[in-house]
Structure formats: structure tokens, C-alpha cells
Symmetry: C2
DNA sequence: CTTGCTACTTAGAACCATTCCAATTTGTTC
DNA sequence: GAACAAATTGGAATGGTTCTAAGTAGCAAG
């Protein structure tokens, strides 16, 4: 069983084809931007970065493509409070730490053992498809 | 040590006074509405319920009062994806289960022991002030 | 090729939860 | 009961996101 958790840029065309979708320059560049700098950019930030390569891309297309990538399970959308949605290429199950000072987001690795324990708190009849864990606080720049 | 986790309606005036704020009819009714039906209403839903008692209240006031109650630690604001903020009088540390079918929210009790284990995954230098855990999936109506 | 089909992109309008603003109203204090 | 501060109000503004209608691009027969 292949448990790929962060697809390579090449995987994009394949994944899209699997869903009957086309590989387009816009989709490729957007996916590449998200893989390159894994700082959980917002749609606006993606838009700004992508324009370096595709100066005439529209914001609507950025939203459309991001949605497509999420559908194809190549990218994950994460929300903090009501702030703009952020996009994350890390497909491992993981938590997020939201640094209040800098606004930056850090991925926090979660042991599988802990994930099981967390899911175990659900009463009978609850069938969870996804789990989101978010810390908020202060993070010191790691030494 | 008093670990009150769901204040009574009477606690409102006291808490407000502690923060140098006034107890107003609007704040009282809104707090009462949230205590009465603990189904995690949105601001709009609170607005609708409060108007039974205060027909001339404005939506802006509902937002203002909810914000005040959150500041005074009488109510918690919870967000799911980018859906409207919901309000919750349960001040225990707890997780939420978001039922995709009905859209309803269920509180999930978390053992203190598990909370500790979760916080323990944070690397040195990370100081979490709050933790949010959200499940999404299907919940059967409990027997 | 070229006509037709469908997917994709685009600009701008629309949406909607929330916040802001400026003007009252209310309550409290001297 | 004048004066000051706090709270409420309606409506306008904000901002991330989605919608819409029109245009573009790529492929598939004929």
C-alpha cells in the first residue's frame, strides 16, 4: 500500500486525470507554489506568488484551482477562527500551532497512538471522518 | 478553589461588574438565551430568539453583547470552517463534533488525562494558551 | 482543417458574516 | 438635574469568498 503524504509536482497531472480533469498551467503553478514554500499561505498570498510566473492570472482562478487541488487531495485547506483560509501540502495527520505574535502556523506531528486515543473518546454512534486540532499561543523561534 | 464551568444567570451581573461593565436588559436576555438552549446558536439565531423578548434589539447589539460575554468568560465562541461563529455556554475543556448531515454540534467530553497527553506533543518553546479539537462526520441520534 | 463540444479561465458583480460609525439613549454620579 | 460615561442603534462599510456570464483553449469527430 502506498501511503504517499506529500505528492511530487509530477503527481499533479496524474491525480487530475484520475478525476477527469485537465492539467493546466494555472493549476501547475499554484500547486508548485504551495509545495515550494510551506508556510500555509492564504489565497491572496498564493495569488501574489503565482503572479510572478503568470502575471495575468485572476484571483477567481486561484480560488478555483485551490478548490480543485483540495478535491483531488493534493492540498489541505485549514481555517483558524474566521481568518482567511490557508493551504497546506502536508497530508499527514497533524495538528497546527497558531502563533499569536507572528501569525505564523506550525505543523505539529501527532503520534498515531495519540490519534487513536483521541478518536476513542467519541461515544458510540459518532463516526468521525476528519479531526482538526489547533493550538494557539506563543512559539519561540526554535533554536 | 471554585471551578465553576457554567455560570448561572445570576453570575452575569457580577462578572460584568468585575470588568467594570453594566448589566443591561440586552446582555441579560442574550446570556439567558444561550444558557437555555445549548445548541451552539449563531449570532443570527441568537438575534431571532432574543427578539421574542426584546423586539427592537439590533443585530449590532447582539454582536456587541456576545463579544462582551466572550470577554467576560461566560460564553465561548467556536468556529467551524468559515461558517458563522457559534456560541457555547459550556466552559469545560471539551471537543466538538460537527454532524455533516444535520449541521448540529455536539459537545464531546475530554478526560483531563487525554488533554495532558495532547499538550505533551508540543515541542519545547511552544506555549499553548488554548486548544481546539473538532471532529466532523456522521452522528446517529443517540438511543 | 473546421465544426462542435466541454473544460477552464476571467473580470466583475454579488454575497454575507461581521465590524465600524455617528447619532441617540440610558444609566450613574456629583 | 447637569454632566459624563457606557451602551444601543441603524445603516454603511469591509473583506474573504462565490457566482455569473462571457470568452478562450484543447480535444474529437467528420
Amino acid at each position: 500500500m502506498s501511503t504517499m503524504t506529500t505528492a511530487s509536482p509530477d503527481a499533479l497531472a496524474q491525480r487530475l486525470a484520475d478525476s477527469g480533469l485537465r492539467s493546466t498551467p494555472q493549476r501547475e503553478v499554484i500547486y508548485d507554489v504551495i509545495l515550494r514554500k510551506r508556510d500555509h499561505p492564504t489565497a491572496d498570498e498564493v495569488y501574489a506568488r503565482v503572479r510572478a510566473d503568470l502575471p495575468s492570472i485572476s484571483l477567481a482562478t486561484v480560488y478555483n484551482c485551490l478548490e480543485t487541488l483540495v478535491q483531488c487531495d493534493l492540498v489541505r485547506a485549514v481555517n483558524f477562527e474566521r481568518a482567511p483560509t490557508r493551504y497546506c501540502p502536508n497530508l499527514h495527520p497533524h495538528a497546527h500551532f497558531h502563533d499569536e505574535q507572528s501569525g505564523s502556523i506550525h505543523d505539529i506531528q501527532l503520534p498515531a497512538e495519540l490519534l487513536e486515543k483521541i478518536s476513542a473518546v467519541l461515544p458510540a454512534g459518532y463516526d468521525a471522518k476528519s479531526l482538526q486540532i489547533t493550538f494557539r499561543g506563543k512559539a519561540q523561534p526554535a533554536a
